[in-house]
Each structure stands twice: as C-alpha cells, then as structure tokens.
C-alpha cells in the first residue's frame, strides 16, 4: 500500500502539525521567560490552538477525506470532536493560568506545554482511521496527562494518583494492543475499512473475535473511565491539580469516545451483535456505580470523578444504539459535558482559598449564595445541567441519547438510564442545598481573575444556549455523524 506523498496529505494533518510545532515553540519560549512571566507560554498555547482551529475550519467538507495513505481521515465527524477539544484546551489553559501562579508550581511553562502535546494526541485519536494511528494517539494523549497528574511533586497524594494512573494506564494499553493485534491476526489489516470488509466476509473465528472485542472494549473503557475499569479515576482526579482534573475529565474522555465510536462503528460494525451486549453491560454498571458511589463523597473533585464515570455510561449508551443517530447524540453529549464540567471546575478553582490547595470539601459551599449570588447561581446552573434538569443543556444531551436508544428498541436501557439520572440528581442538588439553605461558616475569599470569568461566561452561555436551542448544533452533529 504505497502512496504518493502530496501537498494534500500535509494540508490534511496541518492542525496536528501546527499543534506539535507550536508545543515545541512553547518549550523554547519558556526558556527565555522570567519565573513570574510564565503565563505568556499559556497565551502562546491559546494562540497555537486558535491557529489549529482555523486550519481545521478550512478542512470542513473536504473532498478527499483520507490522507497520509489512509492513516488519517479528515471527515466532519473528526472535525466536530476536534473543535470540542480545541474549546476544552483553551478553557483549561485559561483555568490554569491563575491556578499555576497561586499554587506556585514549578515548571509552569512545561505544565501548559504538556497540555498542548496531549491535545495533539487527541486530534490524532479523533482522526485516526488505522488502529496504529489510533493507538499512538492514545499514548500521545495519555503520556502528558500522567505527568500532569503528578505535577504536585511534594504532595504524596499527587504521587500516588499519578502512579496508579501510569501503572493501570500501561496495563490498559497492553489490553488494547493485545485486542488490536488479535484483530490484525484475524483480518490481516489494521485499516478500519479493511477490517470491516474482512469481518463482513465472515470467515473469522467468532471466539477469537469476541476475545479481541472484549480486550479492546476494556482498553477503551479504561480511557473513558467506565466501570469496572474506573479504579484509577477517583484517586487521579482528586490528586491532580484542579485544571488537570478538568482537562482529564472532559478532553481525554471525549477523545476516548471519538476513538471508540469510530473503531466500533467503522471497523467492528459487522460484529455489532457481539459487542452491543458487552458495551450495554459496561454502560449500565457505570451509570449505577458512578452515580450511587458519588452520593457518599464529601470531596467535590472525587464526587465529580464518580459522576464522570456515570456520564461515561450515558454516552456509551449512544454507542450501544449503534446508529448514526446514536453517534450524533454522543458528539452532542461530549460537547455539552465539556462545557458544564469545565464551568463547574472553574467555580471549584474560584473557591480555592488563597495559599491553600485544599478547599475542595462540599461543606465549603455552605451559604455561598448569601454574599456571592452570581457565583452560586452559575454553580447552580452547572450542577443542574450535570444532573440533567431542563432547560439546561445536560438534559438535552441525555434526551438525545435516550431517543437514539428508544428508536432502536432498547426501551429497558433508556429506563435504566432515566432511573440513574434520578439517583444522580441527589448529590448534585445537595450542593445546591448547601449553597442556598445553609448559613455560611466563615468569610468567602473567592479568587478574582479575568481568565476564570471568561471560562465561566463561555460555559454558562453554552450550557443555556445548547439547552434552549439545541436544534442547529444537533443538526450539525447529525450531518457529521458516521455514516453506516
């Protein structure tokens, strides 16, 4: 499968090239900056991401989606995810600037740069149309995050979280690779369309195929923190610097979904009957486990970690539906999830009292509404959206997922999903209760930073707008969704 290298190939992966080169430029810029001017690295990062976004914008509706000898595909599906990742990265960088400064992190320049490198991996995951590129994208995405989780080097908990994440992450990569190599052994190709063709021919051993599907599902579900592959998530989320937690929760999970949906729908669709049950079980267990265990948490980052396990379950249901409608619902859900989660994390960072890394307890929110009405109100909006209460966007996201399920006749799964939503409402609304119904126990000393206000403003507008008028975006997602 030789291919003639052309300018088209370079243009197709231009966003990835811009991000990789931009990250190198950030490393170099970091060398020339004084310790208290490191935020310029982050500003350069934002500029680089915007450049890449422009390059991606020019690639919408390209005539020749397959580039680099079918290693990458530049379809609207991948571009939709890429824009979600650009948004998530820009917002996370904005969240980080103030945090990194007040926590007095060492290696602040590298802190921002590693996020941009991770973004590069996510872009590759969204666009990869070959198991090799997808796997390498996953590694490129995960490696910087391992380092970022352990960034608070003098905090033993941060070390522990990073250690767990690295070891279990390596283990999951091994499972994923084993599954991929079995698929290669069965079909003789790593190209997604080629795998689909070989599976459709129907000459492969069903037992080995099931084994490889189980292994790949386990590997991917680790990356998107689905039960029972979630063990690393609560510790890593709690231990990581808060902006990194936000980044992990939204962007790396989104990238894992971009890849799993493409692999399972584009390559493994002929084996739909085999994987649909496996994923349905993982999704239902994730919803129940994540949302019930979250009730017992008193640390808000840990609570959001368990809630993110539940959200992974909801989004997986879209894949279980196995239709273009389901994948469009996942795309919409991931975007909404990104906005509402980043908004909630922005408020958490705001609550961090000066000089103290803690302040993550849910009891800290008691009486917030008394003197800080606006902050309490936006937190309420994000929490209601996470719980899936209309008219916030979180409700529309869940609605589309459940509609995709019901249209395929999976009524029971939809009912189970709605049931867990009711459980989940409890722990989100408990924080709202603390904010509005309790007396404050002390003075609130909120972080005032322009960057945080921007993040919160964008998230609030997004969450409300997508909740009230989701139609046009959903239409975009449906057009971009994978065709079967």
């Amino acid at each position: 499968m030789n291919f003639a290298f052309s300018i088209q190939d370079v243009l197709g992966v231009l966003p990835e090239i811009i991000i990789a080169l931009g990250a190198c430029a950030m490393l170099i810029l970091d060398l020339f900056l004084e310790r208290d001017k490191k935020e310029w690295v982050a500003y350069l990062g934002i500029f680089v991401v915007i450049l890449a976004a422009i390059a991606s914008w020019c690639l919408i509706n390209t005539a020749e989606p397959y580039v680099m000898g079918r290693m990458m595909v530049i379809d609207n599906y991948s571009l939709f995810f890429k824009f979600t990742f650009y948004l998530a990265t820009i917002l996370t960088l904005l969240l980080s600037i103030n945090y990194a400064k007040s926590a007095d992190l060492d290696y602040r320049g590298e802190f921002y740069t590693l996020m941009i490198f991770s973004l590069c991996g996510m872009l590759v995951m969204a666009s990869g149309s070959n198991l090799i590129t997808i796997y390498l994208g996953i590694e490129l995405m995960a490696l910087p995050i391992y380092v970022l989780v352990g960034f608070l080097k003098n905090d033993t908990r941060s070390n522990e979280g990073a250690m767990k994440y690295v070891i279990l992450g390596g283990f999951a990569s091994g499972l994923l690779l084993y599954g991929m190599s079995l698929i290669y052994g069965l079909t003789g190709t790593t190209d997604l369309a080629g795998i689909n063709a070989a599976l459709s021919a129907g000459t492969v051993s069903p037992v080995i195929l099931t084994l490889s599907i189980v292994l790949m599902a386990a590997g991917f579900c680790f990356k998107l923190a689905g039960f029972p592959f979630h063990m690393w998530a609560p510790d890593a989320y709690q231990a990581a610097p808060t902006p990194v937690t936000a980044f992990m929760a939204v962007a790396s999970k989104g990238a894992a979904f971009a890849a799993i949906v493409r692999v399972f729908l584009e390559a493994l669709y002929p084996a739909y009957a085999e994987w649909q049950m496996i994923l349905a079980v993982i999704a239902v267990l994730s919803m129940f486990y994540g949302n019930t265990v979250a009730i017992m948490q008193t640390n808000i980052k840990r609570m959001l970690a368990y809630s993110s396990i539940g959200h992974a379950g909801y989004a997986l249901l879209g894949l279980v539906a196995g239709t273009g409608e389901g994948s469009a619902a996942i795309m919409f859900y991931i975007l909404v999830y990104t906005l509402m989660n980043l908004g909630a994390f922005a408020v958490i960072i705001m609550m961090r009292k000066t000089g103290k890394v803690a302040g993550d307890s849910i009891y800290d929110y008691k009486g917030l509404a008394k003197n800080n009405k606006v902050v309490a109100l936006v937190m309420l909006i994000f929490l209601f959206s996470l719980a899936g209460i209309p008219p916030m966007a979180g409700f529309m996201g869940k609605l589309y997922i459940f509609m995709a399920l019901i249209n395929q006749g999976y009524i029971i799964l939809a009912v189970l999903g709605i049931l867990t939503t009711a459980i989940a409402a409890f722990f989100y609304i408990r924080i709202v209760l603390f904010m509005y119904m309790k007396e404050p126990e002390g003075e609130f000393d909120l972080v005032k930073s322009c960057a945080l206000y921007i993040v919160i403003a964008i998230s609030v507008i997004g969450v409300i707008l997508l909740g009230v008028v989701p139609g046009s975006l959903m239409e975009l997602a449906s057009k971009a969704a994978l065709l079967l």
Partner: protein, 167 residues
C-alpha cells in the same frame, strides 16, 4: 518442519518457565536475570516466525537497553529492603480465583476457539530490514512521526518529574 516444531516447544517451555520465575522469585536481581532469559526465548520465537529484524530489535531494546537500565536502578537501591512482598494471605483466594478464571478462558479459546482454522496474515517471504525501513518511511511515515512526538513528550515529562528546581 519437525525440527522447527521441536525448537518451538523448547523455546516456548523455557520462556514460560523463566517468566514464572520472574514473578515468583523474591530477589529483584534474579527476577531481572530470568526476564532476560524470557526475552531471549521470545526473540528466538520471532526467528522461527522468519522475522530476524524483530528478533534483533527485541534483543537490542529489551535485553540491551531496558533490562540493563533496570539492573542499574537495582544497584542503586537496597536489594534486601526492596525484595518484593508477596500476596497477603487474605488476598490469596481472590488471586487464585482470578487465575482460575483466566485459565478457564485460555482453555476455552484454545479448544473451542477453532485456532487451527485461522489463517494468519503471515508474510510470504522473509522480511528484510530494507523492506521494513521502506514501509516505515512511506506508508507509515505519519505514525512514525507521532512516535517521535511521543518520545519528545516522554523526555520533557521525565525531566519535569526528575529534577527538583528548588534544590
């Protein structure tokens, strides 16, 4: 063919025995030694699959680089203290349970999976280094470049983790 079959059995048995030693022995140096034996056997298996390049790479990278580095690290720490803890007695039933499940799964795959019917996508002729190089820099140029970025990230990450700027 018969000779190859016998060789395969020999290499595979030694590989499994030595990898059992890797996980059961207490002294990290002995474990590393047996890991070298295991990896050499795997390299021999690659040779039987007609991929001399993979065999050589296996020896260079794993035996030559990774394990030597590992032994250096072991030299720097106190081996007596570092000798590994085995499972606590109360965790043993769980470990045995998982082992039993894995064993059953493996047996099912071997005997019910129809392994004998699978045509593996084996290369027709012996794979030359030149072919691999050509493929790597034409068809697989993009993954190759991603790997270079991954290595850069690994380097930056290692520096960030290892060096304490405040002394």
């Amino acid at each position: 063919m018969l000779i190859e079959y016998i060789l395969f059995i020999i290499f595979a048995v030694i590989a499994i025995m030595s990898s059992l030693c890797v996980v059961t022995l207490r002294n990290p140096v002995h474990c590393a030694g047996y890991l070298i034996v295991t990896l050499l056997q795997v390299a021999a298996l690659f040779l039987l699959c007609r991929s001399p390049f993979l065999a050589v790479v296996q020896v260079f990278i794993y035996v030559g680089a990774v394990l030597v580095l590992f032994l250096f690290v072991v030299l720097l720490i106190d081996v007596k203290k570092a000798s590994m803890e085995i499972f606590k007695p109360k965790h043993r039933p769980l470990a045995y349970g998982v082992l039993a499940i894995l064993l059953i799964e493996t047996l099912v795959v071997i005997f019910v999976g129809g392994l004998e019917k699978i045509r593996l996508a084996a290369p027709g002729a012996e794979v030359k280094v030149e072919t691999i190089g050509r493929e790597l820099f034409t068809s697989y140029i993009f993954p190759f470049e991603i790997v270079s970025v991954v290595l850069l990230v690994a380097m930056v990450g290692a520096i960030v983790m290892a060096i304490d700027r405040r002394g």
